[in-house]
């Protein structure tokens, strides 16, 4: 792929804009709260697009196109089953507790609902996960620029990290959020022409139906057994593992995304943020998964669309999008496409860095190191944490270079942490009897159960480091099953320990537990301001789409 001056100009303009956004917003940053929480002043349309964009990182854009080619239309489950319902649940049922409790972060809610040790456990695991995730995004970006454009790996790492550092250091969370929205439009408008011309080239959807094997063009067909669908997943682990545990664990408890709703101007907007974000989320497969399916049709109709192999001799599905950009885009729009990819990586990295500095400053530094300092002091700490977060990300990127399985490991760690955490939240918010000791030991046992399941089972040659009691059809199926097992273990452990330990008094749980919190009647008569009505519309639409593509 050879870029020309026009492509470099597009990339340069993008870099100029993201840095300018940080510089302009610098004037607004006066306190730690401005830097880390945007002073809860961000309008609804921005929080909604930032909510979805914080998740629109490298995995989403490259990974989902790859899965589109590998699993076909089944990949859409990650959106319609694995996101929409959980986002609506967050908006309607959980956001009133996050926002209403005045907590500034997810770990802080845990401190209010349970105790400091539960908060500390979550804050530390989350902080480690975010900087590692940020580093992996950086590594993936540098690898992409190295392989596709021939740029030096080290230069790519420091250039990307430097730009993310400048705009997050200058403008804090607001700058990251503003850039996420710009990146959202860039990714959508930069990849949409690729989908359009790709579809045109293969003869539209009809051409895809004729060229691509039927087993890859359904959502639910063959789901009765893991052996009869390309994903290697059965309906139970799909619905319970992905649709319930992983989806709700990620969208309802991961501070990286929840933070975007928590900086809304008021509760109603905080509730509507994930619900409005679910609309583009439901439509997003047309942009991120469709290229993978189009590639399958192109391979069937033309020559020259074969994917390269990786170091292990396996087909490198991650190259789906770069291959299509190279084949279908001329210089000019190619610069836009490459910039969209760069934007997705930087968006993922900046989201992680800003979530990391908020959790570190509020939930670790302010809680355990220096309480009751001035706002100015926490602003300096937040900025210093940004520097540290970027430096650790760079170090992690180099570690990732040395261990080619670190991405798989990171995904696994996410399922270890997020799945049991949702069980803790679920019980904590909806069962007033849940105790602090129950929550803490439930989390620990759920995480341990995930590790044990991984150690006793295998998939695609991974796992089974204790013994091999069962072999799953695919890595995806492995992750779904680990998730639901750790969720169930955490749920049962938390419930049992809670029954034999002393709960908090009811007065201190008002605003934190569903049954003890006075219900606020939504007085808004306008349908589009009512979270419940909006949620129902999105759900019905998603259901209809599932029926159409059954």
């Amino acid at each position: 792929m050879k870029l020309q001056l026009i492509d470099y100009l597009v990339i340069a303009i993008y870099f100029l804009f993201v840095i300018t956004i940080g510089y302009v917003l610098k004037k607004k940053i006066k306190t730690g709260n401005d830097f880390l929480m945007s002073n809860k002043s961000i309008p609804l349309w921005i929080t909604s697009l930032a909510f979805i964009s914080a998740n629109l990182g490298a995995q989403e854009v490259l990974g989902m196109a790859a899965n589109g080619a590998k699993y076909g239309l089944y990949t859409v489950h990650f959106y319609w089953l694995g996101a929409a319902l959980a986002m609506i649940f967050l908006g309607i049922y959980m956001m009133p507790f996050y926002y209403g409790s005045k907590a500034r972060s997810v770990p802080e809610y845990l401190a209010l609902r349970f105790d400091e040790k539960t908060r500390g456990f979550n804050a530390i695991t989350f902080a480690i996960m975010t900087v590692f995730s940020s580093g992996v995004s950086l590594y993936a970006l540098a690898m992409l620029l190295n392989i596709v454009l021939g740029w030096d790996f080290n230069v790519s790492i420091f250039l990307a990290a430097g730009i993310v550092f400048v705009y997050t250091f200058l403008g804090g969370l607001t700058s990251a959020v503003y850039n996420e929205v710009l990146q959202f439009f860039l990714i959508v408008l930069g990849i949409a022409p690729l989908v359009f011309i790709g579809l045109d080239k293969v003869g539209g959807w009809e051409g895809i139906v004729k060229s691509v094997e039927d087993s890859k063009l359904h959502l639910w067909k063959g789901m009765s057994s893991a052996a009869t669908n390309p994903m290697g997943v059965d309906a139970f682990s799909l619905v319970f593992g992905l649709g319930f545990v992983l989806a709700f664990g990620y969208w309802c408890t991961d501070f990286l995304v929840v933070q975007r709703a928590m900086i809304s101007r008021n509760l109603n907007e905080a509730q509507r943020t994930p619900i409005i974000a679910s609309v583009p989320k439901v439509l997003m497969p047309a942009i991120v998964i469709m290229p993978g399916i189009i590639l399958l049709a192109l391979q069937s109709q033309f020559t020259g669309y074969e994917l390269p192999t990786n170091a292990n001799g396996q087909t490198d599905y991650n190259m789906v999008l770069p291959l299509l950009l190279n084949k279908l885009y001329p210089n000019g729009i190619l610069g836009i496409g490459i910039t969209a990819l760069i934007a997705s990586f930087m968006s993922g990295m900046a989201g992680n860095v800003t979530a990391f500095n908020t959790v570190f400053t509020f939930d670790i530094y302010q809680s355990y190191i220096k309480k009751n300092a001035s706002e100015k002091h926490y602003l300096y700490v937040g900025k210093a944490t940004t520097v540290v977060g970027i430096l650790i990300s760079i170090a992690t990127a180099y570690i990732a270079k040395s261990f080619n399985s670190i991405m798989d490991l990171l995904q696994l760690v996410f399922s270890f942490i997020n799945a049991p955490l949702f069980a803790t939240f679920f019980l904590g918010m909806f069962w007033k009897r849940t105790t602090a000791n129950g929550a803490f030991w439930g989390l620990v046992s759920g995480t341990a159960a995930a590790a044990l399941t991984h150690g006793l089972t295998t998939a695609e040659g991974k796992g089974g480091w204790i013994a091999n009691l069962h072999d799953f059809y695919s890595g995806t199926s492995h992750a779904f099953n680990i998730a639901w097992i750790s969720f169930v273990v955490c749920l049962i452990s938390t419930a049992l320990i809670s029954l034999v330990t002393k709960p908090k008094d009811k007065e201190s749980l008002v605003g934190l537990v569903y049954s003890l919190t006075p219900k606020q009647k939504d007085t808004s008569k306008v349908w589009y301001k009512n979270p419940l009505v909006l949620g129902c519309i999105v759900l019905v639409t998603t259901l209809i789409l599932n029926i159409i593509f059954y």
Binding site: Y14, F17, L25, L189, L328, P330, G332, I336
Partner: protein, 65 residues
């Protein structure tokens, strides 16, 4: 400077700049090679339209205010 704090204005400017580049490239260099020689022109015009839409949105709020 205050206008630059309005994200709609900033996004509008970005797409006006990149859209102008794509259209300008087509005007200067002409049709590109490949199956879709006018893709830069059409994408550029789409970007320009979107840019104008976002800038107008930011100006409309100012007038209302």
């Amino acid at each position: 400077m205050n206008k630059l704090l309005d994200l709609r204005f900033v996004i509008g400017l970005f797409f006006l700049a990149t859209g102008s580049l794509l259209v300008g490239h087509y005007v200067i260099v002409g049709k590109s090679q490949g199956d879709y020689p006018t893709i830069n022109l059409w994408s550029g015009m789409g970007f320009l339209l979107f840019g104008v839409f976002m800038v107008l949105l930011s100006l409309r709020k100012e007038e209302e205010g």
